[in-house]
């Protein structure tokens, strides 16, 4: 699945200006706990989260995140968007909840990332 399809499925807004929406996304992970997210060390992944503090972007320096979807209408502060742009990391915001977003993507064939 490519990012563009994910944006359409989640009726989402793209927050970063230099986003490559044709990037292929093989799998996803959803959590609001940073230590949980850090279990994704095996492969590049899309992250769904409600966290909007700078440490979420810092995570992408440690593990390979293909993009971050902020759920339930959360919009991160401007400095966080800038941090993401510096890293070529795509940020997306959807009004849907984490449960609903995950369900839609899973049902459309986006598998869970290996942990």
């Amino acid at each position: 699945m490519i990012l563009k399809e994910i944006v359409t499925l989640l009726e989402a807004d793209v927050l970063t200006s230099n986003a490559d929406l044709d990037k292929e996304v093989p799998c996803a992970f959803a959590s609001d706990l940073i230590s949980d997210i850090l279990m994704c060390t095996k492969e590049p992944t899309l992250l769904l989260t409600g966290l909007t503090n700078p440490q979420v972007i810092r995570l992408s320096d440690m593990i390979d995140l293909l993009g971050i979807v902020f759920v339930r209408g959360k919009v991160p502060p401007a400095e966080l968007v800038q941090m993401a742009e510096e890293r070529n990391l795509v940020l997306i915001s959807t009004k849907l909840t984490m449960y609903r977003s995950s369900g839609i993507l899973y049902n459309t064939g986006l598998r869970s990332c290996k942990i």
Binding site: T41, T49, P54, Q55, M62
Partner: protein, 163 residues
């Protein structure tokens, strides 16, 4: 003083020999870690990862190193009175030592239990405090050594081999 050791099977002799010899590193990077400084927390680990990436370390090993180091950096940020991260890069391994200024870990065995946490509200709001920090460090490192004085300082050392 309390102490905790965990070494991957088969690496005990090699890792302990390294620790007692501590040869001069190819690259040495030090970072100050501020109390509750969640703006800069993680920069040290990201920098070490970049150095290792340039050396051509395998991406999966790189992520293990980054996660172990980042969790330890966050622990010092969230729980201590500040500290220092010393990183030593060698041809076959990375050795990272975190030294803080207290207040010490009351019970290390308890702190190793997944899900157990002493994180305060501020730390939890940021998505930390899942009680998986130390277990994640252990899972991703070949050697983990913790020394802590109740009411005093804590030193946490990790070694990860590239292959």
């Amino acid at each position: 003083m309390a102490e905790y050791w965990n070494i991957s099977p088969g690496l005990e002799a090699k890792a302990k020999a390294f620790l007692s010899a501590k040869p001069e590193a190819d690259v040495n990077l030090d970072f100050e870690i501020g109390v509750k400084d969640f703006v800069n927390a993680g920069k040290g680990s990201a920098e070490v990862k970049n150095v290792l990436k340039r050396l051509g370390v395998d991406p999966v090993v790189l992520r293990r190193i980054a996660v172990a180091s980042y969790e330890a950096e966050i622990n010092v940020t969230a729980h201590s009175n500040g500290g220092i991260m010393h990183s030593y890069v060698y041809a076959d391994l990375v050795y990272i030592r975190f030294e803080d200024k207290g207040p010490g870990i009351a019970d290390i065995e308890q702190a190793m239990v997944p899900g157990w946490s002493t994180a305060d509200e501020l730390v939890r709001e940021m998505g930390f405090g899942a009680g998986l920090g130390l277990p994640n460090i252990q899972k991703n490192s070949d050697l983990l050594h913790i020394e802590s004085v109740a009411g005093g300082s804590t030193t946490l050392e990790i070694i990860i081999y590239y292959a």
